[in-house]
């Protein structure tokens, strides 16, 4: 498969939202290990709001933009700002595009990774969702394929490697920062969310 139509993109983002909502307990438990345990319920609020705006008729760019705006409006906390930025920050990659193809998706992920890093003021290694987004973007770049399933598969793999890589990191930002060395051994909950989002994109493409 080389491309998704605009209505397929809307459906894919709906599946992404449902996947995040279905994982609320996984995210709560992950956040309780290093934070205060509100990541799951925050993400659920945001992606429930995204489901309300993801309606047929949206362009590819608007589908990503509106998802990001809904998340930013309704999630709150650091998660709302960074995951809202994740969907919005790279949406310009789809400007005037009728479809989502591998090259545009790679561009989206690269732009989003930069936007999230800038908004949070963090680079890789701080034990945040950036540690999943960056390797996902790199994996997509390295895949250099025009097959969407291969690209989404690479993105999820990069994110999952980022989740693993975040375990030995010492958190240097957010509420986990105060744990210092006690944060070692736990994956970052935001990184897990990134892997769920990209994994749901892969599952959608695989189902077509």
């Amino acid at each position: 498969m080389k491309e998704l139509t605009d209505s397929q993109v809307v459906e894919m983002l709906r599946q992404v939202s449902k996947a995040v909502i279905a994982n609320v307990d996984v995210l709560t438990d992950a956040d309780l290990a290093t934070g205060d345990g509100d990541h799951g319920i925050g993400m659920r609020r945001g992606f429930e709001a995204a489901l309300e705006v993801l309606v047929p008729g949206l362009s590819v760019q608007d589908a990503f933009k509106k998802t990001g705006m809904a998340i930013m409006s309704k999630t709150g906390g650091a998660a709302g700002a960074v995951f809202g930025t994740f969907f919005r920050g790279g949406a310009s990659a789809f400007a005037d595009a009728q479809t989502l193809d591998a090259a545009r998706f790679a561009n989206f992920l690269a732009l989003s990774a930069q936007a999230v890093s800038k908004r949070g003021g963090v680079e890789e290694g701080a034990k945040t969702m950036v540690d999943a987004v960056m390797p996902a973007a790199r994996a997509v770049g390295a895949e250099a394929s025009d097959d969407l399933l291969a690209v989404f598969t690479a993105a999820e793999r990069g994110a999952l490697e980022g989740v693993e890589a975040s375990k030995p990191m010492i958190a240097t930002t957010g509420k986990a920062r105060s744990l210092g060395e006690r944060s070692i051994g736990h994956p970052d909950p935001g990184a897990i969310s990134v892997s769920i989002i990209l994994g749901a994109m892969k599952s959608y493409a695989a189902s077509l």
């Binding site: 509100d38 930013m72 309704k74 709150g76 906390g77 650091a78 998660a79 908004r119 957010g174």
Partner: protein, 336 residues
């Protein structure tokens, strides 16, 4: 087996909105909730003034939304429990409270609050042309060493910062002046807390951290962020000594220095314990010849049913004293 904390609630997903309705009503008309949004705003806002906008995650009542009123915040943007408000909420609150002379954002220094308030500030400046300044409270000396003070969290020092900035925003004519005074207040604030037992988030029903029955954690943050070290439970005097040592290392106080002193209940600690701590703190300060201009012992910033307390010291000069002492009435700061 972890015990599920007991709370008397309706639907746990509606705690913030139901709490805000109740809070607005408890202000007897001085404050209202804005159009069903998670925003509280004064009903007696003058036509022209510098605006003080405060806010942050809910679940820490009475802060922040309990400190809206004359000589305090003009409006509060409220997030979900322990989560920063969204840029939309902050912008709506700012637009409703703006009275033509610019807006000071004053809130606790947390990654989530910083990002959401920054996004709102950028949009307000770009789209509305409103002058927005930001002052972040970073009073928790346990959170980072002095050379990384920008990494420190805001805890109960928020209340004194709001009180000073609120007074300044009432009396001063320019945003520059209000910002200057707010920065001075924040620079003179130091706090530290101790956790005795955890609180829980209503919607998850889970405790935010674990402490053994015979353990306390000195320096723990307002969301259960790790403190300096877990230790065996100790006496009130010993805990007060440990906290005051850190505070005084960070901001030396000597003979003739004047301060405001707050002993804040994190939720479930008895007034008796806090008064016993206050006694010890006053002994320490008296030994140094430090003058306590004002004492506030009470419940100002909580972490749900977390047990423990925090000690806050603000070094005063005549200007800070003036604004701190301006009269104010709200649910958070009764003057009965």
């Amino acid at each position: 087996m972890a015990k599920v904390p007991k709370k008397i609630l309706n639907d746990p997903r509606n705690v913030v909105t139901e709490m805000l309705d109740g809070l607005a009503l408890a202000n007897d008309g001085r404050v209202e909730r804005l159009d069903g949004k998670d925003i509280l705003i004064r009903t007696d806002l003058p036509d022209s003034k510098v605006t003080l906008l405060i806010g942050g995650g809910s679940g820490h009542e009475p802060i922040f939304h309990g400190f809206v009123g004359q000589n305090m915040g003009d409006a509060a943007a409220c997030g979900q429990v322990f989560a920063a408000p969204s840029p939309d909420t902050i912008m709506d609150a700012a637009m409703a409270a703006h009275r033509g002379k610019g807006i000071l954002f004053l809130y606790g220094n947390y990654a989530g609050d910083n990002m959401n308030f920054d996004i709102a500030a950028e949009l307000l400046e770009e789209e509305e042309g409103i002058d927005v300044r930001t002052v972040r409270v970073n009073d928790d000396v346990a959170a980072a060493p002095p050379e990384r003070a920008d990494d420190r969290r805001g805890i109960a020092g928020d209340i004194y910062a709001i009180k000073v900035a609120g007074g300044a925003a009432e009396e001063c004519d320019t945003l520059d002046e209000v910002e200057r005074i707010a920065r001075k207040a924040v620079g003179n604030l130091r706090s530290m807390g101790v956790a005795v037992a955890a609180g829980s988030i209503p919607e998850t029903g889970k405790l935010t951290f674990e402490l053994a029955d015979d353990e306390i954690e000195i320096g723990m943050g307002a969301h259960g962020e790790a403190g300096i070290a877990k230790q065996k439970i100790a006496s009130a005097d010993d805990v007060a000594d440990q906290i005051m040592e850190k505070i005084l290392d960070d901001m030396p106080l000597g003979k003739g220095d004047e301060i405001a002193l707050m002993i804040n209940n994190l939720g479930a600690t008895t007034m008796m314990e806090m008064l016993i701590v206050n006694r010890r703190v006053r002994q320490i300060l008296a030994d140094r010849g430090t003058i306590v201009h004002r004492t506030d012992v009470g419940t100002f910033l909580t972490v749900q049913e977390m047990a423990g307390f925090s000690i806050t010291v603000m070094k005063l000069d005549d200007e800070l004293k003036h604004y701190l002492d301006l009269p104010a009435r709200s649910v958070g700061l009764s003057n009965m």
